[in-house]
């Protein structure tokens, strides 16, 4: 049975369409990456999946007892709120899971630090610990249980603001979780390289689902190529443009604007 099933979801704010007729299923054991240009509705879709937003139309179905761990894109801890890593995680993780999670994610030495002074990579690890800590941790450490637990890890652009080293570490970790512990993962990412290496499924979103499939198949699809022109075609675009700017991302987004 699917962990999550979305049937014909639409979401509008006033008259503006944010999501249009999106249907998808998240099956146990999948590592799905959600990609799409800025403003494609990725974060809105995640908010609908976790139940923070109600869709304007359509149905969301969660498996019974589905346990979702969520790594938000950013958190807003007011500078005037004193919060140590330890105090934050103790609000999130049950006592018997804490030590294992702290060790595995290497945050033991961060515990007494203030959450305000963490680096981007450290904060990301703390947020990941918060999400992983919700899961029945025995299945992770002792691995190889035949049953996939009813648990789903969701990450919203986890690599943003991370250096390459931290990105690689994160991907290794997620791949291990997925392959060895059968953890189901849904991740939003802009990093196409990463997407193609780590995930088992790719969903390409631009208000509606443009295309989806296995990473090796999807890069051949026309809709994908239209949304994410390869480096070569972007570069050749540069070569002919004399009043260009050097922000390739902007150009990519611009191309996506023509889409749909």
């Amino acid at each position: 049975m699917s962990h999550i099933e979305l049937n014909n979801i639409s979401y509008r704010i006033n008259q503006k369409v944010i999501l249009d007729d999106v249907s998808l299923r998240i099956e146990p054991g999948q590592f799905i990456t959600l990609i799409g240009p800025n403003g494609a509705g990725k974060t809105t879709l995640l908010k609908i999946i976790i139940g923070l937003l109600k869709p304007s139309q359509g149905l969301v179905h969660h498996a019974a007892n589905l346990n979702i761990g969520y790594v938000p894109q950013k958190i807003k801890v007011n500078q005037l709120m004193p919060l140590r890593v330890k105090d934050f995680l103790e609000l999130c993780i049950k006592a018997d899971n804490r030590d294992l999670v702290y060790q595995e994610l290497g945050i033991v030495k961060l515990l007494d630090e203030s959450i305000h002074t963490l680096s981007g990579g450290e904060l990301q690890r703390v947020l990941l610990a918060q999400a992983i800590g919700k899961f029945s941790y025995n299945s992770l450490t002792h691995g190889t249980s035949t049953q996939t637990p009813c648990e789903l890890l969701i990450l919203d652009e986890p690599t943003q603001g991370m250096d390459t080293h931290n990105q690689v570490e994160l991907f290794k970790l997620l791949t291990t979780y997925n392959q060895h512990h059968n953890m189901t993962i849904l991740m939003v990412s802009h990093d196409l390289n990463f997407v193609h290496q780590a995930s088992t499924h790719v969903i390409c979103l631009n208000k509606h689902i443009c295309c989806h499939g296995k990473p090796q198949d999807i890069s051949q699809m026309a809709a994908y190529q239209q949304l994410f022109p390869t480096l070569d075609s972007s570069l050749s675009l540069y070569a002919h443009k004399h009043n260009h700017n050097h922000d390739r991302i902007t150009d990519t987004t611009h191309d996506c604007g023509d889409h749909s």
């Binding site: 761990g69 969520y70 007011n78 005037l80 004193p82 919060l83 105090d87 934050f88 999130c92």
Partner: protein, 258 residues
């Protein structure tokens, strides 16, 4: 030291016990301006209550919650994102309150009392209700501490930890409205925020955890109340102004540390 003075100290201290955690929750969500708006709006609530002969607490809570409701309709939950609307609500409700006060017509001392507070107007019933407020505040703080901290950090995070961020937020706003409705007679619409926000700022370098910051803020509020009332008693200056200045002096002292 007479009974009136002791009653005043008890009332202000009891209110400070609630103001500590509430003030922290406001400041951590950049909502100090909301507590100002709601205390000003409370004056309109008082005026309407006097006009229709209703209990003041009821009128104030209704007006405050209505204003929050309309603000949320316009801006979503993030009230601080729209300080201009907060300012309008604040000034207009203050103006409305003043007009109604003139129309009813209430004696001038009564308007002064609700604007600037009057610790001499205390009844033993007021002390009881402030004590109940302190109990409710700390009961909710212990019960909802986790809900509030996680909701204040991220709505998404809260939802996945089985916390309703909207509800957590509404509980705080409702508690704020209740506290204001009970304190307006003692401290006055213009100075309630002072006892709620200034002590929080005084302990910002002192506390290492959110929970201890709430407790320290309450303690500093009590100290400011006692110091302010003593000054008011000896030098014959208005009590709520003296308390505000006492709190501000503690704040300035705390700033020297950094």
């Amino acid at each position: 030291m007479n009974m009136t003075f002791i009653n005043a100290v008890m009332a202000c201290s009891l209110f400070s016990l609630s103001a500590g955690p509430l003030g922290c929750l406001m400041v951590w969500r950049r909502l100090s301006f909301l507590s100002d708006t709601l205390s000003h709006a409370a004056l309109l609530g008082v005026a309407l209550s006097l006009c229709f002969n209703l209990p003041i607490t009821l009128g104030v809570i209704c007006v405050d919650l209505l204003i929050v409701y309309f603000l949320i309709q316009k801006t979503g939950q993030e009230l601080q994102a729209n300080e201009a609307r907060l300012a309008i609500a604040s000034q207009v409700s203050l103006a409305g309150g003043l007009i109604i006060f003139n129309v009813i017509p209430a004696p001038a001392y009564q308007l002064n009392q609700f604007l600037f507070g009057d610790v001499l107007a205390l009844s033993s019933g007021d002390l009881v209700s402030l004590a109940v407020l302190a109990v409710i505040t700390w009961f909710l703080t212990i019960k909802y501490y986790r809900h509030w901290i996680l909701s204040w950090i991220s709505d998404e995070l809260a939802v996945t930890h089985a916390i309703n961020p909207q509800l957590s937020y509404i509980i705080v706003v409702a508690l704020l409205a209740l506290a204001i409705s009970l304190a307006i007679k003692i401290l006055g619409a213009l100075l309630i925020t002072a006892l709620m926000i200034i002590p929080v700022m005084s302990v910002r370098y002192l506390a290492s955890t959110a929970k201890s910051m709430m407790i320290y803020a309450a303690v500093i509020g009590v100290l400011s109340s006692i110091a302010g009332l003593l000054a008011s008693y000896h030098y014959d200056i208005p009590a709520s102004a003296a308390i505000t200045v006492a709190a501000a002096i503690l704040y300035l002292l705390s700033s020297l540390r950094k």
